[in-house]
Amino acid sequence: MADKESGRARGGRRPSGALLGVLPFFVYVTIFLIVPTLIVVIGAFFSQGSFSMVNIKALGESAVKTALWQSVILSLVTAVLGAVIGAVLAYAVSTAREGGIVKRFVTSLCGVLAQFGGVALAFAFMATFIGSGILAGLSSESGGLWLYAWNKGLILVYLYFQIPLMLIVFLPAVEGLRPQWREATETLGGSTFTYWRKVAGPILLPSFIGALLLLFTNAFSAYATAKALISQGTPLLPLGIDGALSSEVVLGQQDVAKAMALEMMVVVAVVMTIYTILDKRASRWLVK
């Protein structure tokens, strides 16, 4: 192993101890990431035990294509909205007094809300907007059905954890902005716009794009929240995978589920590639 050599050369640490330290990590990653990934990727190309493209072909079904498209739209919309709103909030919080009650309250609140999801979150929204909920009056016209639509209710529900998540991951970046930079801009005759356009914007852009990507994948892979809210029509890809695995009406689709999972991996890979390119361009001027 090359690491072993360089490790000894640079740090002079004993290689055996160092390797032992990362061993649990590699075992963990192998069991919970590499093996399942291989099962999915290989399984996608097998049907009834023999090599076949039939699962990949099934991805061309209009229902699957629609689910993919809607998953991407939902993830993109909630990521962009979440990122923009979360970024503004993060800036607002960063200007609050260091160690003050507002800052501590908002950051710890967001820490909780960013992890709030699944059935509990879905239930919170149902309890609020449906039946005898306190905001049920707002949706009595439509009977609250908008809540169960992927392009209405689900966006609102996803934003509920996307915005706090953005605040948490973006806050350190905004806090890295020095007041001196602004003063320097002003000293040199720049306006507020110039400061954001030429100084703060470029500094924050790489972090912003990174956070955007995180939000996208967060929404793209979310399952439990959608499952708890939507029980008809399989509008999203993760729900499609669930249906293919457990349908008691249409049998033998387990391999198609793997193909759908592979499709999701491809989407994330594409997004990651775009991110890498954008990040390179955005942080061109940074000394790394």
């Binding site: 229902a63 689910a67 039946g131 029509g233 399989t234 509008p235 695995l245 457990s246 008691e248 249409v250």
Partner: protein, 380 residues
């Protein structure tokens, strides 16, 4: 059976860990080496095709008691009165019944049996839809209960690999305090039902919802095979804003969240004991009946208890538990002739006037093809 799934992921994880730990570690207990009391000449419960083969009912009971446990799967306690039947069985024989994943689907049952093969937690018996049963005959052990001859011939596999247990009529349950009584399925398109009509699951996944669409198809002039009229109906229901895309459960019904529900009569009817304004209605022009299937896991960790459970379910006592849950037990005719039907339980069976339609395999296949292509677009 299929209710809103909740703990599937946990099971999958547990199952894969169990599998990784070594499937070969344990195997189904064999009674042949220890069966000193049985007179069947070393008969093995795991291969017994009837109580006789084991040396009679007493020997079966003794063997089952010795195992002391039974694993059932995907049996919601409020589904066809399963809760009461399970409790009664456990009390009668002193056998501990573990009911895993009550909300799982029929397909999940088979998947669990495959994953947990050789483990003591694997399901012993199945209650699955006919489709799933037909596709998985190889995982079942043939067994004929003592009352076998009183089960109609077209309701069982001749070798005893599977047997129909109870049938349900597809029905519309509604809360008479919240909505007017429907007189035809088309009534549900009226504004009085705005945002109130729910289907028990997604028909591309859940058998009950699938039958619901077939029933609507019959009511709208289609057939069980050509369900385009059923899908169109739900499309219009959605367009009218009446379709409520919520998975109904007894809880959502009692809280008033789902005032109109398409579901099996044996799921709808028992709710009226908790919600007195809840009515079960079966449209005269659309009586759709479907049987569920009992089968024994051929790798059952408790083979004797599994067989005793079947004997229990197909005894007069077991059949009456289903009847009490508004399901139509498979031995209904024989029991009616013998006068062993529970008269009180009989009243819970919803009244139907007309000839029930029982979809065939071919009907279901045609309907499924259409549904998978068109359902998402109709309600999405």
């Amino acid at each position: 059976m299929f209710r809103a799934p909740t703990r599937r992921t946990a099971l999958v994880a547990a199952a894969s860990v169990a599998a990784a730990l070594g499937v070969a570690a344990c195997s189904a207990p064999s009674s042949s080496s220890t069966s000193t009391s049985t007179s069947g000449g070393g008969a093995n419960a795991a291969s017994a095709t009837s109580a006789q083969a084991l040396g009679g009912m007493d020997a079966l009971v003794a063997a089952a008691k010795k195992e002391g446990a039974l694993n059932v799967i995907a049996l919601p306690p409020d589904w066809a009165n399963y809760g009461e039947a399970i409790t009664a069985f456990g009390a009668k024989y002193g056998i501990k019944v573990t009911s895993a994943q009550p909300d799982a689907s029929s397909a999940d049952e088979i998947a669990a049996a495959t994953r947990l093969k050789g483990q003591p937690t694997a399901p012993d018996v199945f209650d699955v839809s006919q489709t799933v049963a037909d596709a998985n005959k190889a995982t079942f052990a043939p067994y004929q209960v003592a009352t076998w001859s009183t089960i109609p011939a077209d309701r069982k596999d001749s070798t005893g690999v599977w047997v129909n247990d109870y049938a349900g009529y597809m029905s519309v349950g509604y809360d008479s305090a919240k909505v007017p009584a429907p007189t035809s399925v088309a009534d549900l398109l009226k504004p009085a039902y705005k945002g109130k009509v729910a289907l028990n699951g997604d028909p591309t996944k859940a058998g009950a919802a699938f039958a619901g669409v077939q029933m609507v198809s019959l009511a709208e002039g289609g057939t069980a095979a050509d369900i385009s009229k059923g899908v169109d109906f739900f499309k219009n229901l959605k367009k009218a804003g009446n379709f409520l895309p919520v998975d109904p459960t007894p809880a959502t019904i009692q809280s008033g969240q789902t005032p109109v529900v398409f579901d099996w009569a044996y799921n709808n009817a028992p709710i009226s004991t908790k919600l007195t304004t809840w009515k079960t209605w079966i449209p005269d022009n659309a009586i759709l009946a479907a049987y569920y299937v009992q089968a024994i896991n051929k790798d059952a960790p408790h083979p004797a208890a599994a067989r005793l459970w079947e004997e229990f379910l197909f005894s007069d006592e077991g059949q009456n538990y289903w009847l009490k849950g508004a399901a139509f037990p498979v031995r209904y005719d024989a029991m009616k002739a013998a006068g062993t039907l529970d008269a009180t339980a009989l009243k819970s069976l919803p009244a139907v006037t007309g000839t029930p339609v029982t979809p065939t395999d071919a009907d279901n296949t045609t309907a499924k093809d259409y549904l998978t292509k068109n359902w998402a677009n109709a309600v999405g």
